[in-house]
Symmetry: C2
């Protein structure tokens, strides 16, 4: 069966499109940074896998004739849909291991197509895996390993990619859920409106994925989560369609949309949503505030979070991490602070936020204050590294370098202990697993009046042949430390299958029973994304 | 059996405590206003009912010996718990009709007490009605009229009234759900923190009631709903307790708290919650902006809602309503605009908001701009009338004057049509039902970037002997008009039993099936608040 994707192909083993290679110069630069960070210098790379050298498990399903036009069992499509984009996914990919591919990949073009796919999966006991952009870092799109299912179908929503309607007055749009970030913004551009939901995976993640996983975006305060942007949505479930009504807010009983926000493909497939938009910012100020005392930097950030100033950015980056990205010399932490508005100059806002920073010993260059978000070199350097990050992943892994990010949210009064515990436990795990020291650093991605969303990055140099195993061993300790210290298992990376051990303890048991009862209404044959949120019963 | 309430007693037929009488002078003032509004002058009042003249249906239940210490079948307690505080509730009360009282009233002091009450209700097929402050305006606390139940118990949470823990750093507190507004603030006062959730029923409504009904409070933007203030909560259900973990935010699957926000006592009884607090404002500016063109006033308000200025108040009151409350001479609409902050002077915020108002023809007195929220006489006059409103209700009804408020939320682009339709339909209904013209006016209580929460007030002069019937006939038309025009059936008054006809159409059918399946997990014998949200199956 031929491939149904005629567009530019994505790499089946890593980030970006085929041909999006990282240059030797850029790799050399990163290798220098890794040497500084990890004290190693051997970066001999294992080769990336070739499509034709991978022998996939034969397809276990027979695509019904009526679905042949939208399904493929082509090797490339199955390879590409075997994994998401977690470090362990990429590590298995780089090692050429694709042991549990989907048996077929479907590309529905209508809601009716989705219903037909559900019927097929129900009739033939197949798992149905909703697939948006494939950037899950938690095993959210990987076919289940569960013998209850005779096969697995990945349902790729890429053709649900249109902005259907724009309401300029209320600043909202009805958008199909399979659209990826850049294509979404491209369609909105003529309206002057934007979703501004610039998460790290923006290029390759979809609106439906953001909704299903409760992703968080560009804004550090107020409109942080996709949850805050949803007016209504449409969901196709095996039991029928659910369409909520479009309101700015409603007090009518439990909110139906909130059931699907975070449902991660277990209850239905989100096909479209009315989302709130923003006008493009006309006024901006951004700067990097330096602190030599980290605890005081945290206090300043807390005060800003409780000030009602609502900065668009408030990213406190501790010195080790700021040094890695070139925005600190390693002797100070930085708070990347930004205000933006489509309506008014933000000088008064920035002035007061900087006053707060000053009260806690923060310093900044008055000259760097600018309406141009790119003028501050520290901020700019950081952002470039941020967006470039995912492209480096497979190159790092091929060289034995593991890089993982874990994120959480916790109330302010417990943050210091959480950070200390996560860092010391993760350092310990890295040493025990790899026999070498590693790096563990923390920054805030979002802040709330009652607490930050800390984001930890760890680096370790492992055995190129055992990366998935070493990575999982370290991750297990690190996640456990985060949850033991009172953090949630995820602020915006979602649960998938990888976070289940901690989620199972975090969520109230009776609530899980209610979710299962709900699933039984929407998906009585339990075909949808089994193993995510809970096990099929 | 003796009454278990030793405190100052609430009136069983109206608002406030026994002895809280409205003075003849104040009544005379209101009568003058009603004459202007409704063109009538006969305000002969029917007398208020006396407790000893009401013969209640005999109690149908036998309180188990083990529960006698926390239950009463006293006449006063049963009378007082027969109704909430809707116009129709008060109208029946004033007429002395208490046809469906609870058979007993329970005052649990511990979660274990609640569990024992649940067991009793399950064993004896009794309906269990959670009762917070009793201010429901939608029939949310009235015993069901359903022959499936052999009786009904009202479970009054008044003894769950303590602030248990205050986290000064993260600005949050763990609070028992039965506490009423003033007692809650009194306990918080020494901390300098406040919930600032000043809804109209603040004096007599409870935290648990706010959560169960998704109430909206003081802030016109950002932190409008109680939903936005909840970190975690504890719920006692017949199947066991559910306690969520305390986080600023989490992306771990569907949010358990969101299932109970709006559950209106059908899934369990909320016993405590961690709620976000605010520091008391130090800086304030408040003024009333006058507009002679209502459409332009709406446009100004919309621009402010989309500006990112986030005013604490943005109450657009149309001229007829402003005239009734004495803050307009009837030739202009007013926008009550207020900014407040615990952190910084709000001059820059107010200045820009007024610039926007000016762009749309708004005018204001520079002299009225003040840090004192009470300095602006228009705003002050309005607020006093607002808080006094509920006290007048039973006096108005006894004089044949019906006053009802209905609220909704709708996106901006549909607002003008909604207002027109609701006003014309309600005017028509008032004329048809009472044979006289009435008054229907609109204001905004809260604003969102994508739409306002319009709040309609109507007055009609009816037949003193048929107020409940006339009121329901008018309400039915008015609510239908609101929903037909695209509004939600409630922004913050909740559903109860009275809003069911419209809620049943608003919520997706499959979502209701999921809610029923969820209820079956938490409340398998369906004892909790039957008839609210959906019918017992």
């Amino acid at each position: 069966m031929h491939s149904l994707t005629q567009e530019r192909r994505r790499k089946f083993y890593g980030w970006g499109y085929e041909g999006d290679e990282v240059s030797p110069q850029e790799i050399a630069e990163f290798e220098k940074a890794w040497t500084r960070l990890l004290g190693v210098s051997d970066f001999t790379a294992v080769p990336f896998p070739r499509e034709d050298s991978i022998h996939l498990r034969p397809c276990r399903v027979k695509v019904p004739a009526s679905l042949e036009a939208i399904c493929t069992t082509d090797n490339y499509d199955r390879l590409y849909h075997t994994y998401g984009a977690s470090t362990v996914d990429v590590a298995y990919s780089v090692r050429g291991e694709f042991r549990n591919p989907p048996d077929a990949v479907a590309y529905p073009r209508t809601e009716d197509d989705i219903v037909k796919l559900f019927r097929w999966c129900e009739d033939d006991s197949l798992a149905a895996i909703p697939y948006g952009g494939g950037t899950s870092v938690v095993g959210g799109v990987n076919p289940p390993e569960h013998d209850r299912y005779r096969g697995a179908i990945s349902i790729d929503m890429k053709y649900f990619n249109k902005v259907l309607e724009i309401d300029h007055v209320s600043q909202a749009a009805r958008i199909q859920a399979g659209v990826l970030g850049p294509h979404l913004e491209q369609q909105l551009k003529p309206s002057g409106l934007t979703l501004r939901f610039f998460l790290q995976a923006w290029e390759f993640s979809s609106l439906g994925g953001w909704i299903a996983t409760r992703a968080a975006g560009h804004f550090a305060t107020v409109y942080t989560q996709i949850d805050d942007h949803i007016e209504s949505m449409k969901v196709v479930t095996p039991a029928g369609n659910i369409e909520s009504r479009r309101f700015p807010v409603s007090g009518s009983g439990p909110n139906p949309d909130r059931l699907f926000l975070g449902s991660e493909g277990t209850l239905g497939i989100i096909t479209e949503a009315w989302v709130r938009l923003h006008r493009r910012p006309k006024y901006r100020q951004m700067t990097s505030v330096r602190f030599t005392d980290y605890d005081k930097a945290v206090e300043a950030t807390r005060c800003i979070s409780q000030s009602g100033l609502y900065p668009a950015s408030a990213r406190l980056v501790e010195r080790e991490e700021a040094a890695y990205t070139g925005s600190s010399d390693g002797t100070y932490d930085i708070l990347v602070l930004g205000f933006e508005s489509p309506d008014h100059p933000v000088d008064a806002w920035m002035k007061r936020a900087l006053e707060i920073c000053g009260d806690f010993g923060g310093t900044w260059d008055e000259a760097s204050l600018s309406g141009d978000a790119d003028a501050d070199s520290g901020a700019k350097s950081w952002r470039e590294k941020f967006l470039r990050g995912p492209y480096l992943r497979e190159y790092a892994i091929a060289r034995g370098v593991m890089r993982e990010t874990m994120e959480t949210a916790i109330t302010w009064e417990r943050f210091a202990k959480l950070r200390e515990h996560v860092k010391s436990e993760t350092h310990r795990a890295i040493r025990e697993v790899t026999g070498r020291p590693g790096s563990v650093t923390c920054r805030f991605t979002h802040i709330y009046p009652d607490g930050p969303a800390p984001y930890f990055t760890w680096f370790a140099y492992g055995d190129k042949l055992r990366i998935p195993e070493q990575y999982m061993a370290i991750k297990k300790v690190a996640e456990q430390a985060m949850v033991d210290a009172g953090g949630t298992v995820t602020h915006h990376h979602a649960l998938g299958r990888d976070h289940r051990p901690w989620y199972d303890k975090e969520r109230p048991e009776l609530f899980c029973s209610a979710l299962k009862a709900t699933k039984n209404i929407f998906d009585p044959r339990a075909i949808l994304n089994p193993g995510v949120l809970f096990d099929p019963s």
